[in-house]
Symmetry: C2
Subunit: 191 residues, 2 copies
C-alpha cells in the first residue's frame, strides 16, 4: 500500500535493526484517516473471502481492525492479554511469549463470540515472529472457526512470522514488508 | 443516547451491584456501526469546543475514541499503561490505581504528541471512580494542554467519578448514566 509505505518512509524510525518506531501515526498517536484507508484496503483485498468476523489482539491492532470490520459490515472481536490463567469454562486461553517485548501472557477469548464455521480475518499492526498471531489461530481453531486470512500493517520480513503462518496454509497480506532496518535505514522488500 | 441505552438494556448484564458486563458490543466484541454512531454523537456534542486532539486510555476506549477523532478530523492519542516506571525524559508518567481491576500502572504519554494550548477531548468507555481519567488529566495539564471535555460511554453514577471531574471544572458528557445495578437490574438515571 503505497501511501502507507510513504508515511513509514517519512515518519517511521529504525531505532535499531529490529525495531521500527511508528508511534506518530500507528500505535501511540493514531491517524484516523489513515486507519480508514487501511480498513478499505483490507476490506477490498479480502472481500471474496466471505469474512464473518474480524479478530485482533489488544491493543495496537484495534484501530485498523475496527475500520476493517466497519467496511466489511461485521463485528470485531478483541482478544485479551491476561497475565494470569483464568479458570473459566466459558473461555479459550493459550500462552503467548512476545520475544519483542519480553513478556508472557495468556491470550483469552470468550467462547460465546466465535461459532463453528465462522470465517475469521485476523488484523494486527506488526508481524515479526508470529507469536501473537499463532496464538490467535490456536484459539480460533479450538473454536472450529476457519482462518480466512491475516492482514498485517507492517511485516518484518527478515523475521520468520510470515513463513510460519504460510506453512499452516494461511493467506497473509501485509501493507508494508520491511526487508531491513540495518544502519537506521528502512528498506522495503522489492525495492 | 437512546439507541445505546437500549442496547445496554437488551444485551448488558448487571453481574453484581458494581459490575456491568457489555462484552458483546463494547469491550470484547465491538460493534463498529455502534462505535461510528457514538463517534458522531460525541463529535456533535463537542463540536463548538475547538478540539485539537482526542485522547483515550488503552484499550477499551480506543474504538469509540477513534471514531470520534475521525468525525472531528483530528488525531487520536492512546495513553499507555506501563507496569514499570520508564526513565525517559521524553515521557510524562503518572501512577494510576484501578479499584475495579485491582491493578496499578503508570499511565504514559510521549511529550512530543501534546503541545501547549492543545484542546483535548478525553474519551473512555467507563467512568466509575474517575481514577484513569484523572490520571490522563494530570498528564495533559503537565503538558499545558486544556481539557475541553470528557466523553464517557457508560457512567456509573453511583460512584464518585463525575463529581470528582466536575469539581475540577471539567465538562463531562456520558451517553448512558447508570443509577443502580442492584439485584441484577440495570437502572438509568432519570427513569
Amino acid at each position: 500500500m503505497e501511501i502507507f509505505k510513504e508515511r513509514i518512509r517519512k515518519e517511521g524510525k529504525a531505532l535499531n535493526e529490529h525495531v521500527l518506531k511508528v508511534d506518530g501515526f500507528v500505535n501511540h498517536q493514531v491517524d484516523p484517516e489513515l486507519m480508514e484507508q487501511i480498513g478499505e484496503e483490507f476490506a477490498k483485498h479480502f472481500e471474496e473471502k466471505n469474512i464473518t468476523k474480524v479478530v485482533t489482539i489488544e491493543s495496537s491492532g484495534i484501530a485498523p481492525a475496527l475500520m476493517t470490520a466497519r467496511k466489511l459490515g461485521k463485528q470485531l472481536l478483541i482478544l485479551k492479554k491476561k497475565t494470569s490463567k483464568v479458570l473459566n469454562e466459558d473461555l479459550y486461553q493459550t500462552p503467548v511469549i512476545s520475544f519483542t517485548k519480553g513478556e508472557e501472557y495468556n491470550l483469552t477469548m470468550s467462547k460465546k463470540f466465535i461459532e463453528e464455521g465462522d470465517r475469521v480475518l485476523i488484523i494486527d499492526d506488526f508481524l515479526a515472529n508470529g507469536e501473537a498471531c499463532s496464538g490467535a489461530i490456536r484459539l480460533l481453531e479450538e473454536a472450529k472457526a476457519e482462518i480466512a486470512g491475516v492482514g498485517i500493517l507492517i511485516e518484518k520480513s527478515f523475521q520468520p512470522g510470515r513463513e510460519r503462518l504460510e506453512k499452516q496454509g494461511i493467506d497473509v497480506y501485509s501493507l508494508a514488508r520491511i526487508k531491513s532496518l540495518a544502519e537506521g535505514k528502512i528498506e522495503f522488500l522489492g525495492e
